[in-house]
């Protein structure tokens, strides 16, 4: 990406803005733990395309071999659509591989629930689906 105002200051300000959620209806920190975000790899198994948040389900096999289903919150459908990700993108990739940068609920929250910050469906394209509370840039994603 070509930046019109290169420099450390610009980057810092941009990163600050990068934390602004898209149509956030509650604070991220109220419910989720930004210090425990992780890379998940699994199979896309479900989609809730509704407001104020879309959700995806992905089946993941844990290190112990246990099969679990993660329920991950995303931003609103209107924001997803206007930023390159449609309901059809999910439906066409259902049952296929999905990678997600996910942040789980805080301690005491429902297990295997969290947010999807970025995802990569089986079509191989990176998609912004969350608030990017970790201030990651696309090259910092490891999937």
């Amino acid at each position: 990406m070509r930046r019109t105002l290169p420099g450390v200051f610009t980057l810092l300000v941009a990163l600050l803005i990068a934390t602004a959620p898209a149509i956030a209806h509650h604070g991220f920190s109220v419910e989720f733990d930004k210090d425990k975000c992780m890379d998940l790899k699994g199979t896309l198994s479900g989609l809730n395309w509704e407001n104020p948040h879309a959700y995806l389900d992905m089946d993941v096999k844990e290190g112990t071999g246990k099969a679990v289903t993660w329920h991950l919150e995303m931003i609103t459908p209107n924001a997803l659509k206007r930023n390159g990700t449609s309901r059809q993108d999910f439906l066409s990739q259902m049952g296929k591989a999905v990678n997600a940068r996910a942040c789980p609920t805080k301690a005491g929250g429902t297990p295997y629930r969290g947010t999807a910050e970025f995802i990569k469906l089986a079509d191989g394209q990176l998609r912004v689906t969350g608030q990017n509370v970790e201030n990651l840039t696309p090259p910092q994603l490891h999937f």
């Binding site: 990406m1 070509r2 930046r3 019109t4 105002l5 610009t10 300000v13 941009a14 990163l15 600050l16 803005i17 990068a18 934390t19 602004a20 959620p21 898209a22 149509i23 956030a24 209806h25 509650h26 604070g27 920190s29 109220v30 419910e31 809730n48 509704e50 407001n51 104020p52 948040h53 959700y55 919150e73 931003i75 609103t76 459908p77 209107n78 924001a79 659509k81 206007r82 930023n83 390159g84 990700t85 609920t105 805080k106 005491g108 929250g109 429902t110 629930r113 910050e117 970025f118 079509d123 191989g124 394209q125 990176l126 998609r127 912004v128 969350g130 608030q131 990017n132 840039t137 696309p138």
Partner: protein, 329 residues
């Protein structure tokens, strides 16, 4: 000659076929480029500050036509701020060129007007009312759609699905209007600026949005730009980058004056002044905030009906646990 014609015809046909193949490959290549694996979808690398775009469209009566779907900032599209974008594109005003003053509250302001804590930390899809629905869009960054008709202007907000009727036929406010979240709006033209006068805004909606108080009164409990101060809602990053946010309750004496100016085909500015003799020591004036016309022909009004699907019980439980933990410390 016949052979020459045949060769010429063959050459022309061959050229056409070759050109068609080149065009086909170009199209295929372009599509593949746009969808190459590993790329971030959304076209964020193409986001830019829009040019003026041409003269201001006008209605038959000669006034500017405000009709259009408008997005906050200078890009003419809804942006997902999770992707790093030049702040100059996102912001609605330049705080150096057009600084925005802080709200000044009356001394001894009763506690009931002070920084309102959200009644719950659970998901909110409440109607913020006038002028917060407009001001908070830099957080929510959903579009505002204006439909200008003879004698009226419809202001429609995708989030939270909200519709305002603004009379432009010269009528006065009703003598005793019923309070409503958006208030009673009547407008007139001052040159090319539509000036909207609003009264009777329900006291149960608060003034909120980035910049609005900007730690306007640090002596107020909860003053300052913290997620907690806003009930954990929205836009901390944008507020920090652009000067902070805040909220306050208003009185039934509040009077709001909005000024909308379409400055070119692509640009519109929105400026608001809030008068409240009970709460504010002096009127609060926003900077002129920039909106730009949606550029994507496929960008259509989208239903954003809030289903409260955010597991509010869990949010409340976790929030209570966090508060209890903090109290122990």
């Amino acid at each position: 000659m016949t052979g020459l014609k045949r060769r010429l015809r063959s050459g022309i046909v061959g050229g056409i076929v070759l050109a068609a193949l080149c065009m086909t490959f170009t199209v295929v290549f372009a599509q593949n480029s746009a969808q190459a694996p590993g790329q971030m979808v959304g076209g964020f690398d193409k986001v830019k500050i829009l040019p003026p775009g041409g003269p201001v469209p006008r209605t038959a009566d000669g006034h500017p036509d405000l009709t259009g779907r408008w997005h906050t900032g200078s890009a003419g599209r809804m942006l997902q701020f999770a992707y790093p974008i030049d702040p100059a594109i996102i912001r609605q005003f330049d705080p150096v060129a057009t600084p925005e003053e802080r709200a000044v509250f009356k001394p001894g302001l009763p506690a009931k007007y002070r920084r309102p804590q959200s009644p719950t930390a659970a998901g909110e899809c409440d109607q913020p009312g006038t002028p917060s629905t407009v001001l908070e869009q830099i957080n929510q960054h959903a579009p505002m759609e204006l439909v200008q008709l003879p004698g009226k202007l419809w202001m429609m907000f995708e989030y939270p699905m909200d519709i305002r009727l603004v009379h432009t036929d010269g009528r006065a406010h009703p003598k005793d209007p019923d309070p409503s979240f958006n208030g009673d709006s009547t407008a007139h033209w001052e040159g090319d600026t539509l000036v909207i006068d609003v009264i009777a805004i329900d006291e149960r909606v608060r003034n909120q949005g980035p910049f609005l108080s900007r730690t306007s009164n640090p002596t107020l409990p909860g003053g300052g730009d913290t997620p907690q101060a806003r009930g954990g809602q929205a836009g901390q990053g944008a507020q920090a980058a652009q000067g902070g946010g805040g909220a306050w309750w208003h009185s039934d004496k509040e009077h709001v004056i909005e000024r909308i100016t379409r400055t070119s085909k692509n640009y519109l500015t929105y400026q608001v002044t809030i008068e409240d003799p009970v709460v504010l020591a002096k009127p609060w004036k926003s900077a002129p905030r920039i909106w730009t016309l949606s550029q994507d022909p496929n960008d259509e009004w989208t239903e954003v009906f809030c289903t409260l699907n955010e597991e509010p019980a869990e949010i409340q439980r976790l929030n209570a646990a966090t508060k209890a933990k903090a109290a122990v410390k």
